[in-house]
């Protein structure tokens, strides 16, 4: 018979001492705690090693995530046409076409003499008052005025804004505002080719021409921070002075038959250019207008702007198409608005070349762009008036100039002949 069991009859039993030798409740209790309590009794973040480990894991995970994201973004960018790849970044202070450049005026301060401050007339802009100790080198050495050359670009014209690549928008609390410029100039100082800085505490005073209108309290002075790529508001930065025009005797314009005055407009040289209706003396202050006076503590791109929020515009998805209906890539899509001294920019967000165009039907606007060869691409006003806001995208045919645009004047002529409206 096969034995399945080891059967013991009347076998020995362990003694009480032997049994007690195995008894150990403390060990059972300790095993119980090990079994039922988590391995890490302290939170991981309170354990220095575990904390460092967690941080390392997080950092490595983040870096891997960043690398993957960047790679995906690069691949997506490589798929974009060359005209629009990094267009938003490239267009920043970079002319869209090599032929579009804005002339700069140079002012030698050699004739400053002993005057302090020295007052300089900037053609088409206003009067600039320059203290004698205004300029220093990057190393902090003072530079005599007679060695200084001021280079000034007046960019007030929207086409010049485009040519200079000046972004006329700003973001505040994630809202995009369009900037309407009253004054936009690029003011730099040099000794030879060495760029100079304004000394600490020094400021240049720019007195703008007299304006025959009520003082505009919405104007704000901005400086374009080219490193941070945004407009920096300089507050207050400028003053509004109500004053009669110094070049004229207002009494001379007072008609004999009543107590009012004729409203007279003056040009920058103080010469009368028009006479308007007779006004009453109690509104004299308003009719006299004002002279903005800018206090500049830094050189660079300076602008006196009004912020416009494009709330009333509708956003349309737009694709520019050629004769065959194929989408066209343009360097940027620009929009000019009649009566608004600014320019709106639009860039496609993906390889589908779809632009989110903000447009206000019924108002005079001009929409255009440039192709890679520099041809002007204009969008017909009729096509823009028929845009469908609910469509996935609107195919908009464009008209291409026969030759590449060579200058701002030529661009102005072409746009004048092809208004969108």
């Amino acid at each position: 018979m096969k034995h399945k069991y080891n059967i013991r009859v009347d076998g020995s039993k362990p003694t009480d001492e032997q049994i007690d030798g195995h008894k150990n409740f403390d060990r059972i209790l300790a095993d119980y705690h090990n079994l039922t309590q988590p391995i890490y009794r302290r939170p991981l973040y309170k354990n220095p090693r575990a904390f460092v480990g967690l941080v390392l894991i997080f950092v490595i995970g983040y870096l891997v995530f960043q690398a993957v994201e960047e790679e995906a973004e690069n691949i997506a960018l490589q798929e974009l046409p060359v005209e629009i790849r990094d267009a938003e970044q490239r267009s920043f202070l970079t002319p869209p076409l090599s032929g579009l450049s804005v002339d700069r005026a140079e002012y030698l301060l050699a004739e400053a003499g002993d005057a302090d401050p020295f007052t300089l007339k900037l053609t088409g802009i206003g009067e600039l008052s320059v203290p004698r100790a205004a300029f220093i080198t990057k190393a902090g050495q003072p530079v005599p005025l007679r060695e200084v050359v001021l280079r000034v670009r007046n960019l007030e014209d929207p086409l010049k804004m485009i040519a200079a690549g000046v972004p006329m928008y700003t973001f505040e609390a994630e809202d995009q505002y369009l900037l309407e410029s009253t004054v936009l100039l690029d003011l730099k100082a040099f000794r030879g080719n060495e760029p100079l800085l304004l000394a600490d505490g020094m400021r240049l005073t720019l007195r703008l021409p007299h304006r025959n209108e009520a003082p505009d309290r919405d104007l704000q002075l901005f400086r374009l921070d080219t490193a941070a790529r945004h407009w920096q508001r300089l507050s207050p930065g400028y003053e509004i002075r109500r004053e009669p025009h110094p070049a004229h005797d207002l009494q001379a314009h007072r008609p004999a038959e009543n107590d009012g005055f004729d409203l007279v407009e003056f040009d920058e040289n103080g010469d009368p250019i028009a006479q308007n209706e007779n006004v009453q003396s109690d509104s004299l202050a308003e009719t006299l207008g004002y002279r903005p006076e800018l206090q500049l503590r830094e050189l660079g791109l300076i602008s006196l702007n009004r912020k416009l929020r494009p709330q009333i515009e509708t956003t349309f998805s737009v694709r520019l198409v050629d004769d065959r209906g194929e989408p066209i890539a343009v360097y940027a899509l620009y929009k000019l608005m009649e009566g608004v001294n600014s320019v709106a920019y639009f860039w496609p967000k993906d390889k589908n070349l779809t632009y989110e165009l903000r447009y206000l039907p019924g108002v005079n606007q001009t929409v255009f762009g440039f192709d890679a060869a520099g041809h002007l691409l204009t969008v017909s006003g009729r096509a823009l008036e028929n845009l469908d806001a609910d469509a996935e995208f609107n195919s908009v045919p464009v008209e291409r100039s026969s030759t590449p645009v060579q200058s701002i004047d030529e661009l102005k002529q072409l746009l004048a002949g092809n208004p969108s409206q």
Binding site: K4, Y5, N6, I7, F25, I28, L29, T36
Partner: protein
């Protein structure tokens, strides 16, 4: 037929034990009272099935550790707390043999054999000679049984547990335990008649 008798716990003792269990459920350190109370009998229970002091010590530690870990789920079902510990111990011993794949150990005493055989044999022969045959028949019969049948014999006749506890420890119904015991006793009776008949013929 003779019957087995075993001392039962009084109502007061059961109530006191339940209080000890509830206290241990709230505070594991209070389990020490139950540990002290039942350690020896659980040790002997396991020892009889292993006959190895060290192995037995390890198994008993596991029994009490699992009892502590499961104590919050313990609900009184009309059997003493010791039956719950025996059930855990029985499972641990089975687990030990499943892992070891070794030969199970059965410990019994001659008095147990005598008592069982007295239940199945009404004849009186030479006492000394009959006892040796009883033992042989018992051993032969046990070797033919399945482990779960052996466990029933152990609990019912060697440990003298009531049917209710036997059923609880093995996880079967009380009726099922009774039927199995009856069948095993019938096998013993048949084997005894056959063997003793041969012996007398010789």
């Amino acid at each position: 037929m003779k019957t087995l008798t075993r001392q039962r716990k009084s109502e007061a003792q059961l109530r006191q034990e339940l209080q000890q269990i509830k206290a241990a459920q709230k505070d594991p350190r209070r389990f020490g009272v139950l540990y002290e109370k039942y350690y020896r009998q659980i040790f002997l229970f396991v020892y009889k099935r292993t006959h190895d002091e060290e192995v037995c010590g390890d198994i008993v530690s596991q029994v009490f550790l699992k009892a502590m870990a499961s104590l919050k789920k313990y609900v009184y079902k009309g059997v003493p707390f010791s039956a719950w510990l025996y059930r855990i111990a029985s499972n641990e011993v089975n687990q030990h043999y499943r892992n070891k794949k070794g030969e199970r150990t059965i410990s019994m005493e001659q008095t147990h054999v005598d008592r069982i055989m007295a239940m199945v044999d009404d004849d009186d022969g030479d006492e000394r000679e009959t006892r040796s045959y009883y033992l042989q028949v018992m051993i032969d019969t046990l070797q033919e049984l399945k482990p779960e049948e052996v466990q029933i014999i152990e609990l019912r006749f060697f440990e003298q547990r009531p049917f209710k506890e036997v059923a609880f420890i093995l996880g079967i119904t009380e009726n099922n335990a009774k039927v199995r015991i009856y069948r095993i006793l019938e096998r013993l009776r048949k084997r005894l008649k056959k063997n003793l008949g041969g012996h007398y013929e010789a």
